[in-house]
C-alpha cells in the first residue's frame, strides 16, 4: 500500500519553478530518504505534503486520499518533525506534547497516556515537568520528535532531525527512527548527513532543480554509477586553481576541493590517474596520499547533481 503518492506536483513562486512536475511514491513501512542540496525543492515538496504550501498543480494523496479534498484525514495521519525546533520554550515538555496531541482530538486518559508514551519514547520522561529552555540541543530535538508522534501518525516526515546535535543524541534519534519504523510508521527522512541516510533509509530519492533525478534503494542508486571511479587525493595544501586544470583532463567529470582533500569523479574506463597526479605535481602541490574508493551514496549524489549535499 502506498502511504504517500505524489503525481505531477508543481510549485511556482512567480516565475521561479521550485518543484517541477514531480511524481513520487512512498510505500507503507519504508524509511524513505529524500535528498537534495539547498534550494533543490526538497523543503517545498515537504511543505506541500504538510499542507503548509498550496501546490500550483498536481496531486498529493496520503493513504490514498487527496490531501486537499480530505485535509483532516491526511493531517490526522501525518506527523511533522520540522528542521527548526517547533516547541514552546515556556511550556514544560509534558505541556508541549499534550497541547499538540490535544489538537489531534486526543482527550482525557488517552491524551495523558499518549503524552507519557511519547516522552518515554524519546527518553524525556524524567524531564516531563522541565521547561525546554533549560534543555540541551539534543533534548530539544527529541522533544520536537515527541510532539510529532504522540497522536500515532501513519506517516512521519523528519526534516533534518539530527542537525546541530551531539553524537550521543544523534544515535538516540536514529535508534528512535528505527523503532518508530518497526512499530509500523512510514518515515520520510531528510538529512545532510549521507551516512545517516545510508544507514537507516530503505529507499532514497534524489531531487535536483525541483525534479526527482534518481530513485531506488541505495544499492540500485550505486549501481547507476558503476562507470565512475571516486579518487581522493590528500595534498599538503590545495591551490584554489587546481580544479580548473583537473577538469580539463579527459575522463574527469567533477572535482571537489575540501580543505586538503581533492575528490575527483572520473570515467572508470579512462585510465587517467597518472595524468591527474602529474597535473597536481606540475601545479606545485605536495601529494600525501591517493585513494580510489568504491562509489557510495555521496558519490552518487555528486555524480548526478554535480554538487555536494551541503552546498
Amino acid at each position: 500500500m502506498n502511504v504517500l503518492d505524489i503525481r505531477g506536483l508543481t510549485k511556482k513562486f512567480g516565475e521561479f519553478v521550485a518543484v517541477d512536475n514531480m511524481s513520487l511514491t512512498v510505500r507503507e513501512g519504508e524509511v524513505f530518504g529524500f535528498l537534495g542540496a539547498n534550494g533543490a525543492g526538497k523543503s517545498t515538496t515537504i511543505n506541500m505534503v504538510s499542507s503548509l504550501l498550496r501546490p500550483s498543480s498536481g496531486e498529493i494523496r496520503i493513504l490514498d486520499r487527496d490531501i486537499t479534498k480530505q485535509s483532516r484525514f491526511a493531517k490526522l495521519n501525518l506527523g511533522i518533525v520540522p528542521q527548526d525546533l517547533a516547541i514552546y520554550e515556556d511550556m514544560t515538555a509534558y505541556e508541549n506534547v499534550s497541547f499538540f496531541a490535544g489538537l489531534y482530538g486526543l482527550r482525557g486518559t488517552q491524551l495523558k497516556e499518549r503524552t507519557e508514551e511519547a516522552l518515554e519514547f524519546v527518553g524525556l520522561c524524567d524531564k516531563a515537568k522541565s521547561l525546554p529552555k533549560n534543555f540541551s540541543g539534543g533534548m530539544k530535538r527529541r522533544l520536537n520528535i515527541a510532539c510529532a508522534i504522540a497522536h500515532k501518525p501513519k506517516l512521519i516526515i523528519m526534516d533534518e532531525p539530527t542537525v546541530g546535535i551531539d553524537p550521543q543524541s544523534r544515535n538516540y534519534i536514529l535508534t528512535s527512527v528505527r523503532n518508530l519504523n518497526e512499530s509500523g510508521c512510514t518515515i520520510i527522512y531528510t538529512s545532510h548527513y549521507m551516512e545517516e541516510v545510508e544507514e537507516i533509509c530503505s529507499r532514497i530519492a534524489i531531487v535536483d532543480h525541483g525534479k526527482i533525478i534518481a530513485e531506488g534503494t541505495k544499492e540500485q542508486l550505486k549501481s547507476t554509477i558503476t562507470d565512475v571511479k571516486d579518487i581522493r587525493i590528500e595534498v599538503k595544501s590545495a591551490l584554489p586553481a587546481a580544479a580548473g586544470a583537473l577538469k580539463a583532463i579527459p575522463g574527469v567529470r567533477t572535482v571537489l576541493q575540501e580543505e586538503n582533500m581533492i575528490r575527483i569523479h572520473s570515467d572508470a574506463a579512462v585510465d587517467n590517474l597518472n595524468r591527474i597526479l602529474k597535473q597536481l605535481l606540475d601545479d606545485g602541490m605536495e601529494i600525501r596520499s591517493v585513494e580510489e574508493q568504491e562509489p557510495n551514496l555521496e558519490t552518487v549524489f555528486l555524480t548526478l547533481t554535480g554538487r555536494n549535499l551541503r552546498d
Binding site: S50, L52, I80, F100, G102
Partner: protein, 375 residues
Amino acid sequence: MNILSIAFKEIKQDFRDWRTLIFMLGFPIILMLILGLALTNAFSGDLSVGDLEVVVKDTTGGGPLSEAFAAFTKEAGKSGITFDSLPAGKNGRTEVENNRYVDYVELSGQGISLYGSSRSTIESNIVQGMLTSFADKYNAAAAVAQTEPAQVQAVFAGGAGSDYIKELSIDADRTPGSIDYYALALTVMVGMWAAMPAGGLIQREILRGTAVRLVTAPIRKSEIFAGKVLGGIATSFLCVIVIFVFSKYVFKAYWGEHIGIVLIVLFSEVIMALSLGLAFSYLLKGSASRGIISLIVQLMSFFGGAYFPIGDDSGGGIMGFLVNLSPIRWGNHGLTQVIYGNDVSAAWPAVGLYLGFAILFLGASIAAMRRREGL
C-alpha cells in the same frame, strides 16, 4: 474545543511571561499613584453645579413643553444652575464655543436639543443628565396626557418638585479627584495596551517555528485564529480587571454605581485594541508593526488624556480633532458620564465605536490571513 485549548495555552504563556506582566500591571499602578498624588491640586475638588450657566432658546412660542421646561429651570435654579434666555441676534453655539456657557439648550417643535461644551465636559454632562431626566418625565407626561389628561399634573407631582435634581444622581460628596481621574484614564489606557502584544500574536508562532505544527494539525486556520484572539482578549482583560480592582480597593478610586457597564466598555475596548494590533501585524508584516503600534498607542494615550486631562482644554482645531480621534478618549468620555453623570446611555456610543472598529480590524485580519499560505 481546539479554540479553547489554544486560548488557554495563550493565557498560560502570557501569565508565565512575568517580566511583561510586571510591566503591564506595575507601570499603570505606579503611574496612577505618582500622578494621582502629584497632580492633586490640578483637579478641582470643589466643582459645584452652582457655577453652571446654560443658555436657552425657546422657539416653541409657549405650550406644554415650554411650560414644563420653565418649571424645570425653576427647580434646577434652586441648585444654582442658571438658565439664561439667548439674547436676540446671538448664536447659542457660538456662546458655548466661546466658553460663556457650559451648554446651549434649544426648545423647538421637534423637542429639546442640547449643544454641550467639550471644554467643560463634567459640567456639560451634569446638565445633559438633568435634561435626560426632564425629557423622560416630560415624555411620560405627554403619554399620560393622551389617555388620562387629568393625571398629567400627578406625573410631575409624583415626587417633590426637586425630583429633577435628585434623579440626576449626582453624588454631592463626590467629585473626580486626581486618583479617580487617573484610575479611570490609566485603566482605559491599559485596555488599549492589548494592541501591543496582539501585534505578535501570530508572528510569535512563526518565529518560534510552532506555526508549522499548528497549521499541520487537523484544525482549521479559523480555529487557530479564534483561539489566539480569545486568549489575547482574556489576558488583556484580566490585566484591566487587576488594575480596576487595585484602583478601586487600594487607591479607593471612585468607579460609580454601574460597575457592570464600566466593565462592558473596558471589555469592548480590549477587543478593539487587540483587533487593531492584529490588523497591523497582518498589514505591516514583520517586527516593524510592533514598533508602529506601540507608537500609536502612546499617541492615543497622550491625546486620550491618559497622562493629563488634555481633552478638557483642547478646544477645536487640530488638537481637538486628534483628541476626539483617540479611542482612549472615547472610553474616558463615555465612562466619565456613566460614573459622574449617572448616564448609562453614554456608554453605548463608546461600546459601539469599539465594537464597530473591532469588526473592521478583525475583518481585515481575517482577509489577510486567508490570502496567506500557512499562518
